[in-house]
Structure formats: C-alpha cells, structure tokens
C-alpha cells in the first residue's frame, strides 16, 4: 500500500463540492479522479480502476442508484467498494443503495474531513478482509 497511492473516484455533479472533496482528499494523500454525473462515473469506474468510489445520489443524466447498479453489474467495477454521498433528505435512497451493495454512506452537508478519511480507510480494510480467505495479519495502513 505504501508504494502505490490509493485512488478514489468522486462522482458528484455539484462542481464546488467535487472540487472541494477532491482537493481535501488529495491533501490527505489520496489520488483523486472526478466525474460530474452518473454516466461519467460508470465509465471511469471501469476505466480508471479506483480503489474506492464516492458516489452522489442526486445527479442529472444518471442518478446515483442507476450508476450503482451499472457499477455492480459490470465485471470491471463490481468489486470496487462504493460509499454513498448523501443529503439528509434522501435516506430512503440510501437504504436502496446499501441493499444494492454500497458499503457505507456519508452525509454531505456536515461531514468532517477526518470522518471522511477514517470512513474511507475502514471501508478499504473491510474490503481487504473480505477478499482474503483467512486474514491472519490485520492489514496495517
């Protein structure tokens, strides 16, 4: 993990949020790829091979739920963990997303950077546990 930076795909239609999130994550040492709607998100999930996807729910063209379905349907991207970016008002969509295979969610309006980073790390660890047959050594970040 040390030699290669963790790559995160941020799918978010709100330009200012995409910019802010990308910059914050870069400063935390992640490599960041941005996508401005669901369609672009699905494409980049397959082509950029990110380690994790942050996915907004309300977007034009293809919304988060639609994008998530396609990501999970495609062999190229189905194993990439997805964290949902959400607003407080669409909790019912969050539960839809979780049942579709999203691993966690984050409320956009009041996230703190530390919370976001620790969530990303937890999800990545869980993903490693999940893929190892018998995890004997806890992965150290």
């Amino acid at each position: 993990m040390e030699d290669k930076k963790t790559r995160i795909l941020v799918v978010e239609d709100e330009e200012i949020l995409l910019t802010a999130l990308s910059e914050e994550l870069k400063q935390e040492g992640f490599e960041v790829v941005g996508a401005k709607d669901g369609v672009e998100g699905v494409e980049k999930a397959a082509s950029e091979k990110p380690d994790l996807i942050l996915l907004d729910l309300v977007m034009p063209r293809l919304d988060g739920i639609g994008a998530l379905k396609q990501i999970k349907d495609s062999p190229a991207s189905k194993d990439i963990p997805v964290v949902i970016l959400t607003n407080l008002s669409d909790y019912d969509k969050v539960s839809d997303a979780l049942s579709l295979g999203a691993m966690d969610y984050l409320v956009k309006a009041n996230y703190r950077l530390e919370e976001l980073v620790s969530k990303i790390k937890t999800v990545l660890e869980r993903k490693q546990f999940g893929t190892l047959a018998t995890p004997t050594v806890p992965p150290q970040a």
Binding site: I16, T19, Q27, V58, P60, N87
Partner: protein, 559 residues
C-alpha cells in the same frame, strides 16, 4: 219506537268509542310502526266496545317468529286457550299460505287460568285478519264463554278499527320505504365510502364506493369481507365495538388500502331513545391530499438540497483557502475564489426566488405601475442576452408592433418575466432563433390571426379568449418543444424542481412560477404553446384600458 231509540243510543256510544280508539291509534302510529304495539292498543280499548272472555292475537314477527298473546278478561281454563290458539293458527296458516308450526310460537298470557273444573268453553268467537300493505301479518281473536254473542255488527266494528289501523300503518310504511329509498340512493351516490353495522356486527348497508375502495367485488358483501380487506391495516371490529361502547367518534387518520390512502371515521348510531343501533363507518379518500403533502415535502427537501450543497462546498473551499498550500498555487486560488463567488450568487438567486414565491403565496407581492414604453423594456432585455445567445449560436430578435403607446405596468417586474422567458428559451434551444414579440390584441380579436398578421409563427398555438384589450408579450423559440402532458406542470411550484433536477440544465425551476405571480399581480395571464421538435412560445397577456392614463409621469423603464 223506544227500542229503536235505544239502538240509536247504543250505536252512538259505540261510534264514540270507535272514534276514541282510532284517535289513540293515530297518535300511537305517529311514533310507532310496530304492529304488535298497535294491536296492543286496540285490544286494550275493546272492553268498552264489546263483551268478551278473551281477546288475543297471533302475529307473524321478524325472522320467522310467531307471537301469540292472549288477554283473559274472565278466568278460563287451559283448554279454552289451546282451543282459541289452535283455531287461530289454522286460520292464519290458511291466510298466510304456509303452515305455522306450534313450536315456532312465542306465547304469553295475561289473566287467570283456572283448572279444568271450570268447564267453560269458547261458545262464540270471531277472527279479524291484520293486513299490512295487502299482506296478512296476523289475526285478532275475540272469544266468549257465552253463546251467540257476536253478530255482523260487532265484527264490523272491530273490522273497521283494524282496517283503519292497517291503512295508517301501510301508508306510513310506504312513506318510510320511500324515505329509505331516498336515503339509500343518497348513500349509494356518495363520494365517500359508507357502511353500517348493527350491534351484532352484521353489515346492514355498504355503498358501491366503500366496496370499490376496499376492493370488494361481490355485491353481497358481509362484514367478514370488509374485515378481511382491512385485516393487515386495522382491527375494524374492535374499533366499532369501542366506538359503540364509549359512544365516541373514532378516527383512523391514514390507512393505505391498495393504491388509496383512506381516512376512516367510525361513529356510533343511536335511536331517539338513546339506544345503540350500531355504527356507521365512513371511508374518505385522501390520496390526493397525501400526494400534495408529499409534493410539498419533496419541494422542501429539494430546496434544502439546493441550498445546502453549495453552502457545504463554499465552507470546504473556504477551509482549504485558509491553508498556505493553496495560497501558493495562484491558479487554484483564483479558481476557488471564483467558485465561492458563483455559488454564493446562485444561492442568493435561489433565496430571492423563494422569497418572491413566499410573497406571492401570501398575497404580499407588490408591483409598482408606471407609464412604460414596452419597446424599451424589450430592447433592454435583448441587449443583456445578446452575448449569451451568440455563445449558444442562436439568433435573438424582436418584433414590436408599431404604435403601442405607453402602458401602465411595473417595468422592472415585466423585465424579470421577459428575462425568465428568454433565458429558458436559450437553455432549451440547440439551434435556430429566439423571437421576442409585443403587440396589442383587441378584445374579441383572434390571437392566431393577430400572430399571423405580425408575421410570427407560434407552433402549437390554440386560441384562448381574453376579456379586454391585451398587451401580449411573447418569447418564441425553435427549441425542443414540450409534450402536452408537461405543459400544465410548468407553472406549478411543486412539479418544477423534479423536472429541473432530472435535466442537465441548472435552475430552481421557480422562475416560471414567479413569472405567473408577476403577471397575475398585473391582472393578466401567462401561458405556453408548444409543439415537440418545433418549439415553444411563452407569453403573457396584460389587460390594458385606454382611458387609464398613467398616474405618475415617470420616465420610461430603464433599469
């Protein structure tokens, strides 16, 4: 001579009794349709009229029950009564056309029964049928231990009384049937679902609406069908019992049945004597109200989303700007400042729009009319949009009818309406041109003819009717066009955002709602004509009265 006088006197006396019985009957029938009660009244008054040992009746009651009651004026033995009863049963069986079994009879005797040492037997007797609505429902019997007591005269008296009573009851029953019919047809045609149960939870009435709402197809529904349909949602039986027990109206605010949301009211029903009769259950369809409520909630959460997203972004960017790292990257620094400026501006626009809408809804939206040269207003708008139109490779033109004098409008607000129309057209037009037009439509003149005479083409134009001379302002594009079913939603606050959220184009969608408000504050109307793939025309028509000279002589509108 003396004998005939005596007869006359007796006759008179009998007449009087007859009349007094009939009067009492009349009073009783007024509030009772119970045949048994009426017959009780008759036999209670007979003593003054006739000589007899026993008077009794046999009545066909509800649910196959037969009532036998006998009043003993003098003591008779058991056999006397049995004889009378058997005689009546045979007679009523013949009259009713079916056999009355002795074990069906509900028997009661008042008076003294002696043992069989009293050898008195029924020496004279007669029966009078009780007939209601041409249907025999019972029999009245007069019997005596004396011989040869009853002649035609006695029988006629009782027959007359009985006949009068029957007629009165029949009439009342008819009226009641009619009233019941009216009531039933009212219940049948009600928009709400209604059902009624008695105290034993039997379904007395269920109207078609209730069956429809509950999804009960068969016409002979029972209470179990109703309970079944509601089973997973509510325990109606318990509610009904509770309502009757506590004599209280119970309300279930929201019960989802199939695709409908119902409000269910359970109300106890009592008779005039405060005796519980059962309960009425009313089903009120509130699906539409709930849908509007949901739209309102969706609107609110959309608004919150629209405001919170940029604000969250601004906060994050501002935090980043605090760090030295960014300050050293000049390009990024500039970009970030730019983002803050544009996002706070769009937030402010949205807040202003929301305030406008709130004012419109509260009826506190004010306009400031002044004499306005509408041509100037249009020219200003064209100027301010010309570069945007050019960027989008669209021609932006105007056609103002010659000779439009100054009109009394709020020039700023009308400018805002044009702004909205034009910016929408630019958003949704990929190629072609946008035409802004202004003309006067005389009262009674056809809009389509006027549009043609101005050399304009409005796809999808239908002729509306206006009640006055109108100043028409319109923006026509060669854009995507709007499907018919979407047209009516355009000026609706709640349905707007859904559309704008799904489209790639940004905007709160409140613009047209505000336009409508502005135009209506002028007493005018807004509208849209459209044809898919040919383009749309958004217009407003503002009534103008030639005699209404501008109040304030202010300079023409220039922002």
């Amino acid at each position: 001579m003396r004998n005939s006088l005596h007869t006359k006197e007796t006759e008179m006396q009998r007449r009087m009794y007859e009349v007094s019985i009939l009067k009492e009957l009349g009073d009783r029938i007024g509030y009772s349709l119970n045949v048994q009660k009426i017959v009780d009244v008759i036999i209670g008054s007979l003593r003054n009229l006739l000589d007899y040992s026993t008077v009794g009746y046999l009545l066909l009651g509800e649910e196959g029950k037969v009532i036998f009651h006998c009043v003993l004026e003098e003591s008779v033995n058991k056999n006397f009564i049995t004889e009378v009863k058997n005689g009546m049963v045979a007679a009523l069986s013949a009259l009713a056309g079916h056999e009355i079994k002795l074990d069906e009879i509900d028997e009661s005797i008042s008076g003294t029964i002696t043992d069989e040492t009293n050898k008195n037997s029924a020496k004279s007797f007669f029966n009078i049928p009780v007939v209601i609505n041409d249907q025999p429902v019972g029999l009245l019997n007069i019997s005596s231990t004396k011989d040869g007591l009853y002649k035609e005269e006695e029988m006629t008296i009782l027959y007359t009384i009985m006949n009068q009573a029957s007629t009165a009851v029949s009439k009342l029953e008819n009226i009641l049937t009619q009233e019941k019919g009216k009531l039933n047809s009212m219940v049948e045609s009600m928009a709400d679902g209604v059902l009624m149960v008695d105290t034993k939870n039997r379904l007395l009435v269920i109207n078609p609406q209730a069956r429809l709402m509950l999804g009960i197809a068969k016409s002979s529904a029972t209470i179990f069908d109703v309970l079944d349909q509601l089973a997973s949602k509510m325990d109606l039986r318990t509610k009904i019992e509770e309502s009757i027990r506590n004599d209280k109206l119970l309300v279930e605010e929201q019960v989802q049945i199939n695709d409908k949301v119902l409000r269910i009211l359970i109300s106890p029903v009592k008779d005039s004597a405060n005796e519980a009769l059962g309960a009425v259950v009313l089903f009120h369809d509130i699906t539409k109200e709930k849908a509007i409520e949901k739209m309102r909630d969706d609107f609110t959460s959309m608004m919150v989303h629209e405001l919170r997203s940029p604000l969250t972004g601004i906060r994050s960017i501002a935090n980043l700007l605090k760090e030295d790292k960014i300050k050293n990257e000049q390009k990024k620094y500039q970009d970030f400042i730019e983002l803050i400026v544009s996002n706070s501006a769009s937030m402010l626009d949205l807040v202003n729009d929301l305030l406008d809408v709130a004012k419109l809804e509260a009826g506190k939206f004010q306009i400031m009319r002044r004499a306005t040269n509408i041509g100037d207003v249009v020219k200003m708008r064209i100027q301010s949009f010309s570069s945007l139109a050019q960027d989008n490779h669209l021609a932006l033109e105007s056609r103002i009818e010659e000779g439009i004098g100054p009109v009394s409008v709020d020039d700023n607000k009308i400018g805002q309406v044009l702004n909205n129309f034009i910016s929408n057209s630019i958003k949704f037009t990929k190629q072609g041109k946008i035409m802004v037009s202004a003309f006067i439509l005389k009262k009674g003149q056809k809009l389509s003819e006027k549009v043609a005479s101005q050399g304009l083409v409005w796809p999808g134009l239908k002729d509306p009717s206006f009640g006055a001379d109108e100043l028409v302002l319109a923006v026509t594009d060669t854009g995507l066009g709007i499907p018919d079913d979407q047209l009516s939603k355009l000026f609706n606050k709640f349905t707007q955002l859904e559309q704008s959220a799904a489209s790639e184009k940004k905007g709160t969608g409140l613009g047209l709602v505000i336009c409508k408000g502005i135009v209506e504050a002028h007493g005018g109307t807004v509208g849209v004509f459209s044809e898919v793939d040919r383009g749309s025309t958004f217009f407003c028509a503002l009534p103008i009265s030639p005699e209404s000279a501008p109040v304030v002589a202010a300079p023409a509108a220039i922002k």
